[in-house]
């Protein structure tokens, strides 16, 4: 990859980390919410840089445009005065900061001590998706899969079809045994959709207007 994308990466990496830290440090809830917007938005850009266009766009649409608006509404509905702060004590802050640094050191050193790239042929998702190359039709208008065009594959996998795995069945060595098709995510997809309906009803029930018990 080229220098421009590396610059973009470091820029948005800094924004993500800075936003996350200021969510922790800030005492004003609304500022926390907008630091969270910054963090999640830059994470979406990191997703785009990692070649996951669809997930990045979903992150923006559902997370930043939906969930965070909901949270900001929650902040406003529960604020007792303008610019409310509920402070934690300074000792708490110092202690948690210390523990956080130690924790970060442990997690980061663990994660970076593994050579992840060695667990693969070094190609990652690009090599897998090229197997279904006639679906992506690089000459027919779609961007090549290496540039983040995973929308069709994702959609098919929700229908329990796995082009990234099954489409190389045609070139398998000729054997008499029946090919095993991979399973996709149809059942989880259905479960999630029912789950969302239940959540919709449940949240509406929980948050309905009631007479206050004490004033």
């Amino acid at each position: 990859m080229n220098t421009a994308e590396i610059i973009l990466f470091w820029l948005f990496a800094a924004l993500t980390c800075g936003g996350a830290v200021s969510v922790c440090v800030s005492q004003n809830v609304v500022r926390m919410a907008f630091a969270l917007v910054l963090t999640l938005g830059s994470t979406a850009v990191l997703f785009l840089l990692l070649g996951a266009d669809f997930v990045g766009a979903t992150q923006l649409l559902v997370y930043v445009g939906g969930t965070l608006v909901l949270i900001v509404f929650g902040v406003m509905l529960t604020a007792t005065g303008p610019f409310t702060r509920i402070k934690s004590s300074a000792a708490d802050g110092i202690l948690s900061g210390l523990i956080g640094v130690i924790f970060l050191f442990i997690v980061a050193s663990t994660v970076t001590s593994v050579r992840w790239v060695d667990t693969d042929d070094g190609q990652g998702i690009a090599s897998k998706i090229t197997l279904g190359a006639h679906l992506t039709k690089a000459e027919g208008g779609f961007n090549p899969a290496q540039q983040g065009n995973t929308t069709r594959q994702l959609g098919l996998s929700f229908l329990s079809i796995r082009p990234d795995r099954d489409l190389n069945l045609g070139v398998r060595p000729a054997t008499s045994e029946k090919p095993k098709l991979s399973t996709g995510y149809l059942l989880p997809f259905e479960i999630v959709s029912v789950h969302l309906l239940v959540v919709l009803v449940g949240a509406a029930y929980l948050a309905r207007t009631k007479r206050r018990t004490k004033t």
């Binding site: 080229n2 220098t3 421009a4 994308e5 004003n28 609304v30 500022r31 907008f34 917007v37 938005g41 266009d53 669809f54 990045g56 766009a57 979903t58 923006l60 649409l61 930043v64 445009g65 939906g66 965070l68 608006v69 900001v72 509404f73 406003m76 303008p82 610019f83 279904g132 006639h134 679906l135 039709k137 000459e139 027919g140 208008g141 779609f142 961007n143 983040g148 065009n149 929308t151 069709r152 959609g155 098919l156 229908l159 079809i161 082009p163 099954d166 489409l167 069945l169 045609g170 008499s176 045994e177 029946k178 090919p179 098709l181």
Partner: protein, 423 residues
């Protein structure tokens, strides 16, 4: 030449052919940065231009609707330069930050709104391939970025430290979040018809004549009107401008803003008016297609090079005219209809528009199946979608419409399993 206006291909062109008039080849990252700067400049110019143009149009149209003349003297006979004069006046004004406001957030809010509606332009094709990026998640990303605008509005209202601003922002937030749902569902109807999220391909599939446009599809026809209503509401335009209802809320979330920051909000509003209209044109009204097949004929006659470029320029003009007409419809509606009450706005969306759009979406999905079963065609009017083929000479980003994206895989997989079952 026609591919020069797409960021990726511009970068490729600079790498392989070198800079025009200079001939020096660029390396990959420099080419990308140059392409990015060019596109930011182009899109930025188009971001600022319609604001000025449409503000002037709004003054004139509203004046005519109210039996007045509107601006007549600034810059000649028709008051052409009125927007410029307004802009200069606004920049000169003092930039106030109220004492009770949360200063940092107050200053930040207009920029969030502007960035959101600016970034939404990156996937919008102005003519065949003339988009800053031809993204395969084009429509999805556009809707996602447009939905960020509401954050800026809420931030503006909250940080102003004024009750009018807060009320306006809460109304606006509720309204925009609700209207996004039917808007997105209706935008999905032509997507289902086309089988791709790439806006360039959606428009290409409708090229060749007005009989190919999506609006002649029976369900997409109604989806267009629902989409346009929701788009008007999501731009906070009257009759849905509850956020800045001046008779009740002073000016809503804009109450405490003045000068340059206030004008940024309006820049963003007019830019997103144009954007949602342009999306409607791409999705329903054939994009840059002129409706008579002229552009397609030019492309067939001169398959590559200059003829193609000319066809694209004509397409660009057609596209801008169509979008501007839709913007003018929004202006016309604003000065004709009275403002709704907030409960009426929410009832319209939640009780009527969402069920209607769900029904239209289900209908769009079921329609080709029923039609193929009954008549063996995928479209009553115009060429069946599968037969709208590549125009000759357009190589890279044109569409060869496959049957709905799943079927090759199904065919392949079932063929593979059938093959495997034979001894």
């Amino acid at each position: 030449m026609d591919t020069l206006l797409a960021a990726n291909s511009l970068a490729e062109y600079l790498q392989t052919n070198g800079v025009p008039f200079c001939g020096c080849l660029l390396d990959e990252s420099t080419a990308m940065i140059v392409a990015a700067v060019v596109h930011v400049a182009l899109v930025g110019a188009w971001f600022g231009l319609p604001a000025g143009l449409f503000i002037w149009a709004e003054r004139k149209v509203s004046a005519r609707i109210q039996d007045r003349l509107g601006p007549t003297r600034t810059g000649g006979k028709f008051g052409w330069l009125q927007s410029l004069a307004d802009g200069i006046k606004l920049i000169q004004k003092e930039d106030l930050v109220p004492k009770d406001a949360d200063g940092l957030m107050f200053r930040l809010a207009p920029y969030i709104v502007v960035v959101a509606s600016f970034v939404a332009y990156i996937a919008l094709p102005f003519s065949d391939g003339w988009a800053a990026m031809t993204l395969d998640v084009g429509l999805f990303l556009t809707l996602a970025v447009l939905s960020l605008e509401v954050l800026g509005v809420i931030l503006a209202g909250y940080s102003s430290g004024s009750k009018w601003a807060l009320f306006g922002a809460m109304r606006e937030g509720a309204q925009m979040v609700s209207y996004e749902i039917p808007m997105a569902i209706c935008a999905l109807c032509p997507i289902v018809t086309a089988g791709t999220l790439n806006l360039n391909e959606v428009a290409l599939l409708q090229s060749g004549g007005a009989w190919n446009w999506n609006i002649l599809h029976p369900f997409n026809f109604f989806a267009f009107f629902v989409y346009f209503t929701c788009a008007t509401a999501s731009c906070k335009r009257a009759p849905f401008d509850l956020a800045e209802a001046e008779s009740e809320l002073v000016a809503g979330f804009l109450t405490e803003y003045s000068g340059f920051r206030w004008s940024l909000f309006f820049l963003a509003e007019y830019a997103s008016m144009f954007l949602v209209s342009a999306l409607a044109v791409v999705l329903f009204l054939g994009g840059w297609d002129d409706g008579l097949g002229i552009i397609a004929a030019i492309k067939t006659a001169f398959p590559d090079g200059f003829g193609n470029f000319i066809a694209n320029v004509i397409g660009l003009k057609v596209f801008l005219i169509k979008s501007s007409i839709l913007v003018c419809v929004q202006i016309w509606v604003r000065w004709t209809l009275p403002r709704l009450r907030i409960d009426q706005v929410m009832t319209t969306c939640l009780k009527y528009l969402i069920p209607i759009s769900c029904f239209l979406f289900a209908g769009t999905v079921a329609y080709p199946l029923v039609l193929v079963t009954m008549s063996g065609r995928t479209s009553i009017i115009g060429a069946p979608a599968g037969e709208r083929l590549v125009q000759p000479g357009v190589t890279r980003r044109t569409v060869r419409l496959t049957p709905p994206a799943s079927s090759p895989a199904v065919a392949k997989v079932s063929a593979a399993s059938a093959e495997g079952s034979q001894p």
